[in-house]
Amino acid sequence: MNGVHDMGGMDGFGKVEPEPNEPMFHEEWESRVLAMVRAMGAAGAFNIDTSRFYRETIPPHVYLSSSYYKKWFLGLEEMLIEKGYLTREEVAAGHAMQPAKALKHGKFDLTQVERIMVRGKFARPAPAPAKFNIGDRVRAKNIHPATHTRLPRYVRGHVGVVELNHGCHVFPDSAAMELGENPQWLYTVVFEGRDLWGEDGDPTLKVSIDAFEPYLDPT
């Protein structure tokens, strides 16, 4: 979706402000949100792409004025309601009132913690040969799906070069909408800065994205 989360190339957000000796969490609730997101995801309530999509659908003015973990919280709460794990009445009451919905991988308990400290695996067997080879020139499609996609706006319509082939991976555009993993070839595609940003762009800049095969056309 053409949401405000798709920030590459936007102007006006000001300087980057690194915080010296930044703590891991600025408030205790942030750590609880992180843990709940990790736990409910591991229990099978949602996949990582669905959780990203719910954060992207936070209204733009709320997205831009919320801290990172506030966005995680808002996305988590809405997603769990829409997926039927809790109700708005329960959220308003602050207590469980309805029977639980079964979780795909069961309750998240202490025995599960170790396994979530390593990222999941996203590589899948290839359903078909790769269409593109290293060195091929490809054009990022001019597509504007209203649903989740990982093709940022700033590369759409532009020509780049395939630099790496990462194999076949779960396709976020499908997984986010719970339409299955639909594995697709994944490539690093590199663009010239001036192709993206025009003649005033930094002539020494190259930008790459990791692009799934359905995002790309041959040139």
Partner: protein, 208 residues
């Protein structure tokens, strides 16, 4: 949860509302039997103690001292790091990109906040915030200036936008004046930002 008091200059009513809502959600998830609060505690503790830039620093220091490891690391980051018993386990699809005198690498996630957690820990706020995510792909030299970092005018700058489940770690150049240093000594020079590409390793003798 323990009692917590904060004196930050946040909007206090907004903060306490969020805190209440987060607590309510945890209560509901617990009452419904979805999560065990002790397991949430354990997740937080694991993030606080097991991951962090020290993991990435060891990998970089090893690459600086062991050419065979460096070659393997650049070919398949996850596989090479998997051979180091003393580094925390790394997930799949880690791509290590090497800075050279001709090219500087920088990592961003314009769409959300993808970051190599196992190597660097949880990302800092600036990495997840709009100024960095918006400008890194368009004006990386301007972003570097915010970090008081500048590059030679004609050096190529390559920005890696983490748009999939691949993760990127920058292998910075080894600082001059470190000939004969041990891996442990070198690891002390490797900063988090030097592995994101928004900084350089410390130079010998500089305060850590």
């Amino acid at each position: 949860m323990s009692e917590h008091h904060h004196d930050h200059d946040h909007d206090h009513s907004e903060l306490s509302e969020t805190e209440l809502r987060v607590r309510a959600l945890e209560t509901i998830l617990t009452e419904k039997g979805y999560v065990e609060p002790a397991a949430l505690d354990a997740i937080i503790q694991a993030y606080e103690t097991k991951i962090g830039p020290h993991n990435g620093a060891r990998v970089v220091a090893k690459a600086w001292t062991d050419p065979a490891f460096k070659k393997a690391l650049l070919e398949d980051g996850s596989k090479a790091i998997g051979t180091l018993g003393h580094v925390s386990r790394v997930g799949d699809h880690l791509v290590v990109v090497e800075n050279t005198p001709a090219r500087h690498n920088m990592v961003v996630c314009t769409l959300c906040s993808c970051y190599p957690w196992e190597m660097l820990g949880l990302p800092p706020v600036w990495y997840k915030a709009a100024p960095y995510r918006s400008r890194a792909v368009k004006d990386p030299r301007g972003v570097l200036a915010d970090f008081d970092v500048s590059l030679p005018k004609d050096m190529e700058i390559r920005v890696w936008d983490s748009t999939a489940e691949t993760r990127f770690l920058v292998l910075p150049m080894r600082p001059a004046g470190t000939e004969g240093w041990s891996e442990e000594q070198l690891a002390e020079l490797v900063t988090r930002d030097s592995m994101i590409g928004t900084g350089f390793p410390r130079t010998p003798g500089a305060p850590s």
